[in-house]
Amino acid sequence: MFIIKHKKIFVTISAVLVSLSILSIIFFGLNFGIDFKGGSLLEVEYTTSRPEQKIIEDTIKPLSIGEILVQPMGEKGYSIKTRDINELERSSVMKALGSDVTEKSFTSIGPSVGAELVRKSIISFILVALGIIFWIAFSFRKVSKPVSSWKYGLIAIVSLIHDVTISAGVFAFLGHLIGAEVDTLFVVAVMTILGLSVSDTIVVFDRIRENIRVGHFKTFEETVGRSISQVYIRSIATASTVIIALLALVFFGPVSTRVFAIMLTAGMFFGTYSSIFLASPLLVIFNNLQKKKAKN
């Protein structure tokens, strides 16, 4: 009952977190990687020791492949970003870097491929959101008193936006801190957070649905409050197991999925937070507003 009693405080906390995240996104910005913009990324490693960054820049500049961005990578490597270069240009870069160097990976993405990813991301985002609203509206169709079923869907979407915004805010901060870029995995992370966040919210709502049906509690407020205290342990336990798995991925997993795992950890954490501390209080607030309206 504690949470429902202090519902305004928790809703405020969420509002603050979301605002901070939006500020983080505006202030740090989201670096879009070559997956979206098109371009090339060449990762090389020197066998003995790597030369100064300046030397690398000066060796590549005469090849006239346009703007280049050289960044140290690991202990002996560099990552070199350019516009999308063709095979001839790539081999000329490799030749210029000398024989002491091995190519770890090379990615070149044409603008049309990048544009495709943008389109696909937008389409799938819209479809996932729609799919989820319909599913909740469908599975809660029998619960229309006192709060109608589509409002559950709406609140699930509100808490979903909350979770995704905060995760994106964390990501923007990571971008500032370690140069994390928005890539294909970012899209996957956002969608996965959508799915996980909603599935957690559904568990809480499901309990409220059941308690309404059983009719043990007098007021809607009490129903929601008791439902939360019945399920919060399971929410925390589940979130913990997923977060344990994610942390294993962050600390021991492949480098390529590290940022992805950090972002999902944030998403999982705030997803669980929001289904207990945001979605349910919002239900009660909605219901109170409705009652006030009816009185007037």
């Binding site: 999308d84 095979e87 790539r90 190519e103 770890k104 990976s105 090379f106 990615t107 070149s108 993405i109 044409g110 049309s112 491929v113 544009a115 495709e116 990813l117 389109r119 696909k120 799938s124 479809l127 996932v128 799919g131 989820i132 599913w135 909740i136 294909t184 995995l185 899209v187 996957v188 996965t192 799915g195 996980l196 909603v198 599935s199 559904i202 568990v203 499901d206 059941e210 019945q230 399920v231 342990i233 399971r234 336990a237 589940t238 197991t241 997923v242 977060i243 344990i244 798995a245 994610l246 294993a248 991925l249 600390f251 997993g253 492949p254 480098v255 390529s256 999925t257 992805f260 795992a261």
Partner: protein, 467 residues
């Protein structure tokens, strides 16, 4: 009760069997000599994506502007077959060549995606595919004083393309070639390349020769004429000869290249990705390590927090992992770093259903029900939320799989299979295991065993005593 015990035994045996299969098939495959014939269990290794095995991923755009829309599918399929053959000639193991049809999301571009595991030399890979010759037949241009085409090539030289204006393209291209054979002219001993067209090509060739008796027909290879014979009579049966002052070696290479296929559609490279072998090995071992640590940590958490049911959940979770690994091998699912991440996350999520059920069982026990009743109700009441919450994850996974690029698909597929299998393992396997223990007596010990965290499950202890 004996029924559930037998079922438990069968499930455990199945688990051990599958575990043995996963282990043995991997060991057998690893120990294979490089050229050994792959038989038995070694046929089922884990299939690793390019980011883990190292290799090259190429995306080509097909220029289909000249292809009739009704012929589009056939042309793209023919293109895929040709590239596949070409790649196979070079002995790349398990290449993947696939057509990505134009649609809204890629602005109608017809694409060809080529995955070459183990090939980390991009230039070699591109050469391998790009060298495919474009063969076509052209007839004399009736307008003799047609303007000659002048182009500036990339080195800045001005090229006067006299042939391009002198001859005009016909429909007959290398697409209609059945096979090419190296022969030697019986009188001069000069090497010639004999072409045999397929049925459609034969008709086209017949038509061209019929309309051009006494005139020349030019055979163009990659845009340059290699042979300009004069047609003496209509040729039926679709056989043609190119005698282009070849040396025997030249003629032999040409035959080889023609047989591996002429490109029915011109292509250009739009995206390349190469991953060095060392990077892939590193990512694989890190992925396996993270999966192991993640699994052990979750198992520990479950056993400490949920005690007896927790231990059973760990058994069910082990079954889940074994079933998933077997599916990866048998389907086979191509594993990428993102896919492994999906799998690791799914281990965490797989526990969710069990946690929901255990919490519910504990509640029922507190309400004063017997143990068997509580287990029964716990499963029944938790089922709705397990179902509803998992369906939302599945909706996400299906849409991601449907619309994703190959990287996203790799994640989505593993995630989808994971959610499905975890529902089965968490609900049916755990239930059978719990029933087969056949604990009926409710006392302090069982209250403790079915408890969780800091609270026990029996009414007396749960409310009064904190651990």
């Amino acid at each position: 009760m004996w029924k559930t015990r037998i079922a438990t035994l069968l499930i455990l045996l199945l688990g051990i069997g599958l575990g043995f299969f996963v282990y043995k098939s991997e060991v057998r495959h690893r120990n294979l000599a490089k050229d050994a014939k792959i038989t038995g269990l070694a046929k089922y290794p884990f299939k690793l994506g390019l980011d883990l095995s190292g290799g090259t991923h190429l995306v080509y755009k097909a220029d289909v502007s000249l292809i009739d829309s009704t012929e589009l599918k056939n042309s793209m399929d023919a293109l895929r077959d040709v590239i596949e053959r070409r790649v196979n000639v070079f002995g790349v193991s398990e290449p993947i060549v696939q057509v990505q049809n134009g649609g809204f999301s890629n602005a109608g571009e017809e694409r060809l995606i080529v995955d070459l595991p183990g090939v980390t030399d991009v230039s070699k890979a591109i050469e391998m595919i790009g060298q495919t010759p474009m063969l076509d037949f052209r007839t004399e241009n009736p307008i003799t004083d047609a303007p000659q085409e002048v182009t500036v090539d990339k080195d800045g030289k001005v090229v006067l393309d006299m042939y391009a204006s002198k001859y005009i393209k016909t429909d007959l291209t290398g697409r209609f070639l059945d096979k090419a054979i190296l022969e030697f002219n019986q009188t001069t001993g000069e090497p010639v390349v004999s072409l045999q067209f397929d049925a459609e090509g034969s008709l086209l060739f017949e038509k061209i020769t019929k309309e051009n008796v006494g005139k020349s027909v030019a055979i163009f290879l990659d845009g340059t004429p290699i042979s300009i014979p004069t047609v003496n009579e209509t040729i039926t049966g679709g056989r043609a000869q190119i005698s282009g002052n070849f040396t025997p070696t030249e003629a032999k290479t040409l035959v080889g290249r023609l047989n591996s296929g002429a490109l029915p559609v011109p292509i250009s490279l739009v995206s390349t990705q190469t991953i060095g072998p060392s990077l892939g090995v590193l990512a694989t071992s890190a992925g396996v390590k993270a999966a192991l640590i993640g699994f052990l940590a979750i198992a520990l958490f479950l056993m400490i927090w949920y005690r007896l049911p927790g231990m059973i959940a760990v058994l069910a979770l082990s079954m889940y992992v074994i079933i998933m690994l077997s599916i990866f091998k048998l389907v086979p699912v191509i594993l990428t770093a993102a896919g492994i991440a999906g799998f690791i996350i799914s281990i965490g999520i797989a526990v969710d259903a069990n946690v929901l059920i255990f919490e519910r069982i504990k509640e029922e026990l507190r309400n004063g029900d017997g143990i068997l009743d509580s287990i029964h109700h716990g499963f029944k009441r938790a089922w709705l939320s397990v179902r509803d919450s998992n369906i939302s994850s599945m909706i996400t996974a299906i849409i991601l799989f449907w619309f994703g690029t190959s990287l996203i698909k790799g994640f989505a597929l593993v995630f989808l299979i994971g959610v499905l299998i975890s529902m089965i393992s968490a609900i049916s396997i755990t239930r059978i295991f719990l029933y087969s223990l056949n604990i009926k007596k409710k006392n302090k010990l069982t209250g403790f065993l079915f408890g969780s965290g800091f609270s026990n499950a029996s009414t007396v202890t749960a409310t009064a005593v904190q651990k």
